[in-house]
């Protein structure tokens, strides 16, 4: 089982702080408002347990965008909002006031782009700091409860690094979060890299 020591955790937290900081800056420019960020939550969990953990924190319907990563780090990155907030964030950005209850196909595509911009900012910032290459896929729109979103992981006991950062836009009272589930096989390499950087200080 993979363990991380305090200094490694400190470093990962800092890398994510910086990466989320740059993503928040992108989002802040898009919505023209300051974005508040939480301290990253980092855990090593089995994939199915991570999925359950996710579901406990959000029983209501969520929607958002997912991208997969491969290369120096592999796994999935997600940007999620409560479903009704997704509607408002997209419409703030598109400047529309039509009250169709669900996102239309074009709006889903716009949401994918928003997620793509934010997740790319996070992922490429992680890659830059670690001086590693992470390949990202195209974004995909997802919605449902946490359980539904992670249903595919129900029987998957692979160990993952589960990372979660909450963010909020105060004036719109929109809260969302970014999560990453990183596969452990790629993490070994990642931790080695981490240790090398720490020792180089």
């Amino acid at each position: 089982m993979l363990e991380i020591n305090d200094i490694q955790r400190d470093y990962i937290t800092e890398v994510l702080n910086i990466s989320m900081g740059s993503a928040a800056s992108v989002l802040s420019e898009m919505v023209n408002e300051e974005v508040a960020l939480s301290v990253p939550e980092i855990d090593f969990l089995q994939r199915n347990i991570a999925a359950n953990k996710f579901d406990q924190t959000s029983e209501s319907k969520m929607s958002g965008v997912t991208q997969s990563m491969s290369g120096a780090l592999s796994g999935d990155a997600l940007l999620m909002f409560p479903e009704e907030k997704t509607l408002s964030i997209v419409r703030i950005l598109l400047g529309e006031s039509v009250s169709v209850e669900n996102l239309t196909e074009m709006e889903q595509e716009a949401m994918c782009e928003i997620g793509n911009i934010i997740l790319n900012a996070v992922v490429s910032s992680v890659a830059n700091i670690l001086e590693q290459e992470i390949v990202s896929s195209l974004p995909r729109f997802i919605k449902g409860t946490g359980k539904e979103i992670y249903a595919v992981d129900a029987g998957n006991e692979d160990l993952v690094m589960f990372i979660k950062v909450d963010f909020g836009l105060e004036s719109q009272s929109i809260n969302g979060y970014v999560t990453m589930m990183l596969n452990v096989d790629s993490l070994q390499n990642f931790m080695t890299q981490l240790d090398e950087q720490i020792h180089a200080i």
Partner: protein, 119 residues
């Protein structure tokens, strides 16, 4: 060159190590004080401090609040915010307060730039 005292405030140990390594490299004679939080940093008030490098996002008091208080105690010291929170609004608040602003990730050039303010 005169001996200076630097206060480094960051909740990340790795970040403090990184900053410290650059400072030591350039000025081994400088005194370095370290704090992991705003409250801890305030315990150093009264000591001679010439330069402060302060993180923004920290548990408890954030770096902006700490900087405001430190500014009152040390009107002549140079304070620089070094943060992962690179949003324009934070930069504007820093400049309104009359303190420096550098974006993380920490690099030697950025620390050198902050140090040049008191060299």
């Amino acid at each position: 060159m005169a001996e200076k005292t630097v206060l480094i405030v960051d909740d990340s140990r790795v970040s403090r190590m990184l900053i410290k390594s650059v400072v030591v490299d350039r000025h081994p004679e400088w005194v370095i004080l370290e704090s992991g939080s705003g409250d801890e940093a305030l315990t150093h008030v009264g000591e001679a401090i010439d330069l402060m490098i302060i993180d923004f996002n920290m548990p408890g008091m954030n770096g902006m609040m700490l900087s405001e208080q430190m500014k009152a105690h040390y009107p002549d010291a140079h304070i620089s915010m070094l943060t992962a929170n690179v949003q324009d609004s934070i930069q504007q608040r820093a400049s309104a307060l009359g303190i420096g602003f550098e974006k993380k990730p920490i690099t030697e050039a950025k620390i050198a730039n902050i140090m040049s303010q008191v060299e």
